[in-house]
Assembly symmetry: C2
Homo-oligomer: 214 residues x 2
DNA sequence: GTTTTTACCATATGTTCATATGGTAAAAAC
DNA sequence: GTTTTTACCATATGAACATATGGTAAAAAC
């Protein structure tokens, strides 16, 4: 072996370049050569870490989604430590999917660009469906916990509530994403409206107050 | 001039071939040659009616969207003739955007495929934003009319309600669209859940009954 | 110190595709 | 009946790109 190299770190460097390119120019302007240039690598270097372009794209997509999910999870853990109302955690978690600032906008654009490819790429379609299921199951769990805690009425259907909140958020993300023409703050008013709507619907599902234990 | 030819009809034939290809194989498997073959034309023929591929794609996209909007409009007119409750019309109109049968699924796939291109195509992004605005304004009008008619409480914000219903529907469409792996009925159960959810939220916005005039 | 393995690179290759080009034919115009 | 215009076609052309190829160098293994 020559120089000891952190394989995963290199792949991430490449993936970051892909994300930047997708965000700024769209998925079909991503070429291996451009990615290499953006990352400051040679084409051969990129090839060394990703034998095929497809692998490179898939890795990037998975990483972007993973980063969002990790954030949401971290939010959940922080919340249980600090005994926050579930309702607030749900609002914050859903907010991670809205393109309301540069970071989230970049992630959203990547997700959106890949979403358009689910039509012809079954692997991508599966991955997207899987992510959706995961989100809804997290939401359903939150609703379930909310019931035990007293925030949610007993007759609420967790799965249906989860589907509603998830769909509403994704739909809003689409709307915000397109309106964001300028690279400056893209309609702060619209962002507020979207966040307000999500908050309102979450409050409708979680109308109660948590009974404090201990 | 030689043979008198209906220019628009030819373009539509080509656009239909594009729609078929996008639906079945995805946007980036659409080439001029494949489109020509699908439509039963020569490449030169397609070129004659669409000087550039971009024009061909844009025309197809606009046509698919237009067809949905026309259906929704027709729905609205039929409803005013027959004095149907606004609520029911809204549910049906929103239903046009859900991929619950082959026709709507095809349209949805086209919309979705092009949606992924809004990132790098400002024209497409504008068009998509425009369509969204149109849908929401139709919904807001429906809510407004519902107030005058007595179906909607006076303190409802029409724009906010419109945004909610529109976003919810688009979000549900995304979820359904991905789940539909098989070419058979794609999760009739999921379709039902989606339609049920839309119906429920529309009923929440239009809880009242229309006072009959005359 | 030789061998082997891995990192990394420049350039070659072959394919796919949009579009250009140089046509034929037929109908309208006059 | 000649001219012009439009419909339509087969094939040429050149660009973009993913991937293959044939390298060099450096470090570990022994």
């Amino acid at each position: 072996m020559p120089k000891v190299v952190d394989h995963r770190a290199r792949r991430i460097q490449v993936a970051d370049a892909v994300q930047k390119l997708v965000t700024e120019e769209g998925l079909d302007r991503v070429t291996v050569a451009r990615t290499a240039a953006t990352a400051g690598f040679s084409v051969g270097h990129v090839q060394h870490y990703f034998p095929t372009k497809d692998e490179m794209l898939l890795f990037t997509h998975e990483r972007v989604v993973r980063k969002i999910l990790d954030r949401v999870s971290a939010l959940g853990e922080r919340a249980t430590r600090q005994q926050l109302p579930i309702r607030d955690v749900v609002v914050e978690g859903l907010g991670e999917w809205l393109p309301v600032d540069a970071r989230r906008r970049s992630a959203h654009r990547v997700v959106l660009a890949f979403l358009g490819r689910t039509v012809d790429n079954p692997g991508l379609a599966r991955s997207h469906a899987e992510t959706g299921r995961l989100i809804r199951s997290m939401l359903a769990t939150a609703v379930h916990n909310g019931k035990e805690c007293g925030e949610v009425p007993a007759d609420t259907d967790p799965d249906l509530a989860a589907l509603e909140l998830h769909s509403l958020t994704e739909g809003l993300a689409l709307q915000l994403g397109s309106g964001a023409d300028t690279d400056t703050d893209p309609g702060a008013a619209e962002s507020q409206a979207a966040l307000g709507l999500v908050t309102a619907r979450v409050r409708a599902v979680f109308p109660g107050r948590c009974r404090q234990y201990g």
